[in-house]
């Protein structure tokens, strides 16, 4: 992490970049926040460790409008989002100096709590170069758990540690993929319609429409969301009933279908712990099955599955046949 800080200070000093976009330590040891660093001394609380799960690509939409270049630290999965935004002309490549930071999987604080570790005061082993076990100093004494057990679900199905776009790379990465990407989706598909309906009814009823998923999603970055404008007479500030819960999440997933890079941020930030990535991953699974493997953000020119077609696509009736 120190090497990253030194390099950032260097670039800031020699004027190649006007500001650095990274993470700054939060009030607790496990919630670093994305932040701008413009001066030498700000770097005091710069941090890059196992808890820095935030995808900084979306901030580049606004950063592209600022004066001068912005240095941004992107993890491998973030770079897909950046390229997708580039393809959609939302970010300006010249205004970004990208440092591809190494990643060995990010941690999920909910999982840590589920392991019974509460009242955390400090953490060791979460650093980038840290060890495979995490030791926590908590109010109730010292607790440990393995790094893998605390890892985010998305890291278990990681798309690979290769950075899609960068100006330079700092730090090594370590493979963390040890699960099938569509396992969860297939588990739900195997349920009966009643069970599926009950499952999503339960999950979505927790939704408080805080819009965190929408605010963090790089693909879901309209200037004015359709749920906030009068274009569709569907302006909804809060879910009044179960229909609107479903409506919001289905339409959100539909709007990002073919553009979602499966970065998993929506599930990570959801305060209610709803597995929102299931919707997007279901669309990705369908698209891969019906229209051929497609990874959003992996290239610059190819047209997304929903903005192209082939003459012999499957008929919609295939959904009924699959049962």
């Amino acid at each position: 992490m120190q090497e990253l800080i030194n390099r950032a200070k260097e670039l800031l000093a020699d004027g190649t970049v006007a500001r650095v976009l990274g993470w700054k330590a939060g009030d607790l040891p496990f919630n670093p926040e994305p932040a701008y660093f413009e001066k030498e001394e700000d770097f005091a609380d710069f941090v890059y460790d196992g808890f820095c799960g935030a995808n900084l690509s979306k901030y580049m939409i606004e950063a592209s409008k600022l004066e001068g270049k912005t240095l941004v630290c992107l993890k491998p999965c973030d770079t897909y989002s950046f390229r997708q935004l580039m393809k959609e002309h939302r970010v300006n490549r010249e205004k970004a100096y990208i440092i591809g930071v190494g990643c060995r999987g990010k941690l999920d604080v909910n999982k840590i709590r589920d392991l019974g570790i509460k009242g955390i005061e400090s953490v060791q082993g979460a650093e980038i170069e840290g060890s495979d076990t995490l030791t926590f100093q908590t109010l109730y004494g010292e607790k440990t758990c393995s790094y893998a057990d605390a890892m985010l679900e998305r890291c278990h199905v990681c798309k690979g540690k290769e950075h899609m776009i960068y100006d330079e790379l700092i730090g090594e990465s370590r493979e963390t993929k040890d699960a099938d990407r569509f396992a969860e989706v297939e588990k739900i598909e195997a349920m009966s319609p009643e069970e599926r309906f009950a499952y999503f009814q339960k999950e979505l009823s927790k939704c408080i429409r805080c819009n965190a998923c929408r605010n963090v999603c790089p693909a879901c970055s309209c200037r004015k969301c359709v749920f906030d404008s009068n274009k569709f007479d569907s302006a909804q500030k809060a879910n009044v009933n179960s229909f609107e819960e479903k409506m919001f999440h289905i339409i959100r997933a539909f709007h990002v279908a073919g553009r979602c890079t499966d970065c998993g941020e929506c599930s990570r930030v959801c305060p209610q712990g709803i597995p929102l990535h299931l919707f997007n991953r279901k669309f990705i699974k369908d698209i891969d099955e019906l229209y051929g493997e497609y990874q959003a953000g992996a290239d610059d020119e190819e047209r997304g599955p929903l903005t192209s077609y082939t003459v012999d696509d499957a008929e919609p009736g295939i959904v009924a046949e699959r049962g």
Binding site: K224, D233, G304, T307
Partner: protein, 662 residues
């Protein structure tokens, strides 16, 4: 909220019979915004339109809903009427309570309830209508005719006569089409090439007509008034400017064993050939699959004997791109394949032939140079049997469900000609019904029966069995005398069904012209607009639209020409104003919409905007109204709803959904 007038039409009894129109009027008055509602027997009549116009003026109406027949019928009528009364024509909406309601529901209560709902949906939509003004787009004063048969030639001549340039694209090496293969034509029995060749010469000589023979249409883009067409001029391997048409090359060509398509495979032709003597342009074509020079690299006799030095082996296909205002489809027809009708032993005996093959046999330029003889042993037949409706009027999947319309007449013609030229030959015709409607048609058929003694038997033929002695045993039924007929014939002629040219479906897809399951092009309206395709700018001429004989083809060809001329005569075309529009404050400029636009009507601009005080330069989607056809694909790809379609906006369709579901 608009001031809305609702007008409910009785349509005589078509609507009033199963929809209580008074109730619809009463419910209309209860709708918010409706300030006037009335019903009338014929809303589309002059009187009906005046009622609308008076109501607009007296009640100062801002929107009109007409509950009547399908908008595809009278939307323009009511819009023009409203325009004359000073109301913007796009403030008129139609509720289809005839085809979609009164005609298909018997129960009055049910039908009335549905009519009220459809009325409510139309009122909800009109409430959100915005006045629109039709844009204008220019018209390229040039027409394209696809297909060089009599239909294509006649259409091209008529358009050219009106002073507009026309291009004919013909797939085969010469124009003339199916008619050039015929011997005589009914009902006047004059020789087919005698009446066709002059027209072919006129077409080739006319200054306004350009012939692209041995060429195919490859790509069509654009829309009415502004089509861009790529024509592939296949390589003839003969330089058309140098060739004098002397025909020496065809005599000397060593590869002579290729079945002649023109003679339906009954005779052979050389590798370098012109389809028939009167071919226009009279320039041969080298059939590269069967030419020894192209297959093995040896030979080259034709270039040696050609004094004009016109042979050019490395001539390449040429793509010509041209702009057109109107396109006429005249792709013609062919006989169906008879492999599924083996009860007639067509594939088992050479003496069972189709009527078109008989035309070639009786034609002086045909394979038997006009002598009527059996193809198996060349002897003159004594007994000939004609079988009608082979593959026509068949509801099973083997044949065509429609009646091919021309077979009864041409079979009577064949029978008459054979009896006239060879009086000692007996001709029997097995028929289901002889259909000879039309001027002098039935008299023609009766002459065949009464004057020439053709034996017509009402009943079909069950099977034809080739006998060891070379004759054909025909087993048919005589339903009048209630007898089963077993007749030994020397020759059996099948009046096979006709079907549209097989590659018309490819052309229809290119032109986005709608086509039915029998591969006939669908006309805009079966009775009122028979020569136009629903796709504006595309016209139908000849059998591509449905089975018809030469007199009808020529009259339809003229009609298609007039429609095309009507279009080309305009300098400006009113374009559909229901085009997409991008809201500059909402547009993300993410270029998803440009990907789905079939007309390339969307471009992007960096534009200075003031979004509620935020002044910045943004990348905005911009729609070119002249190119946009209003399909709406972009409005769904746009997540934020920035892209919306005028006339069918998101809120309007949602309002209709609400009105229907409440």
């Amino acid at each position: 909220m608009q001031r809305i007038g609702v007008f409910v039409c009785h349509c005589g009894t078509n609507i009033a019979a199963t929809v209580d129109v008074k109730k619809v009027v009463e419910m209309a008055l209860a709708e918010p915004g409706v300030v006037h509602a009335e019903d009338y027997q014929y809303m589309c009549s002059e009187v009906g339109q005046e009622k609308i116009q008076n109501a607009i003026r007296e009640k100062n109406l801002g929107g009109v809903v007409v509950c009547s027949c399908s908008p595809r019928m009278h939307e323009t009528t009511f819009r023009n009427a409203a325009q004359k009364a000073g109301l913007n024509p796009y403030m008129v909406e139609i509720a289809n309570i005839r085809e979609h309601c009164s005609w298909i529901h018997k129960d009055v209560k049910e039908a009335t309830e549905k009519a009220v709902i459809l009325m409510r949906a139309a009122v909800a939509k009109v409430n959100l209508n915005t006045p629109l003004k039709a844009g204008e787009s220019r018209v390229t004063k040039r027409a394209l005719v696809i297909g060089g048969g009599i239909a294509g030639i006649q259409t091209a001549l008529d358009i050219a006569e009106a002073g507009y340039p026309v291009d004919i694209v013909e797939k085969t090496p010469s124009i003339g089409g199916r008619m050039s293969q015929l011997d005589k034509t009914f009902p006047t029995l004059d020789c087919s090439s005698c009446i066709l060749t002059p027209k072919m010469v006129d077409a080739s000589a006319h200054p306004n007509i350009t012939l692209y023979t041995y060429s195919e249409v490859e790509k069509v883009s654009g829309f009415v008034g502004d089509f861009t067409v790529d024509i592939r001029k296949k390589a003839r391997s003969v330089d058309m400017s140098k060739c004098t048409g002397c025909g020496v090359c065809q005599e000397k060509c060593p590869s002579k064993k290729i079945p002649s398509e023109f003679n339906r495979g009954l005779s052979n032709r050389t590798a370098i050939y012109t389809p028939f003597a009167q071919a226009i342009p009279n320039v041969p074509v080298i059939d590269r699959e069967n030419c020894i020079k192209f297959k093995t690299g040896k030979c080259g006799v034709c270039s040696k004997v050609c004094q004009a030095g016109a042979i050019d082996y490395n001539q390449k296909d040429e793509i010509i791109t041209e702009k057109y205002g109107a396109i006429v489809v005249a792709t013609g027809f062919d006989m169906i394949k008879l492999d599924k009708y083996d009860e007639y032993a067509y594939s088992q005996s050479k003496d069972v032939i189709t009527s078109l093959e008989l035309e070639r046999i009786m034609n002086a330029a045909g394979p038997t140079s006009g002598h009527l003889e059996r193809l198996s042993d060349g002897k003159a037949p004594k007994e000939i049997v004609f079988i009608q409706c082979v593959g026509s009027r068949c509801a099973d999947d083997r044949g065509k469900s429609y009646c091919s319309k021309i077979c009864c007449m041409y079979t009577a013609k064949h029978a008459m000609l054979i009896r006239d030229k060879y009086p000692d030959v007996n001709v029997t015709v097995f028929y289901i019904d002889v259909r000879t409607p039309g001027k002098n048609f039935d008299e023609f058929y009766r002459r065949a029966v009464e004057e020439y003694g053709v034996n017509y038997i009402k009943g079909q033929v069950g099977k034809v069995i080739p006998q060891p002695n070379g004759k054909l045993l025909v087993q048919g039924a005589d339903l009048i005398d209630n007898k089963q007929i077993l007749k030994e014939a020397d020759m059996v002629v099948l009046a096979a069904a006709i079907e549209p040219n097989p590659d018309v479906r490819k052309i229809a897809t290119m032109l986005t012209a709608s086509i039915d399951t029998n591969n006939f092009l669908t006309e805009a309206h079966a009775k009122l607009r028979p020569v136009e395709s629903p796709t504006a700018g595309i016209f139908l001429s000849g059998v591509c639209q449905g089975p018809k004989d030469i007199p009808e083809t020529v009259s339809q060809a003229g009609a298609a020409a007039v429609k095309a001329i009507g279009l080309l005569a305009k300098d400006k075309l009113l374009t559909n104003p229901c085009t997409a529009h991008s809201d500059e404050l909402l547009s993300n400029g993410c270029s998803q919409c440009a990907h789905v636009c079939p007309y390339g009507a969307i471009t992007y601009e960096e534009r200075q905007v003031n979004d509620h005080g935020i002044r910045e330069v943004r990348r905005i989607a911009v729609v070119n109204d002249a190119l946009c056809q209003g399909c709406g694909a972009c409005t769904v790809t746009c997540p934020s709803g920035a892209m919306d379609l005028q006339g069918f906006s998101n809120r309007q369709i949602q309002a209709e959904v609400d009105a229907i579901c409440l």
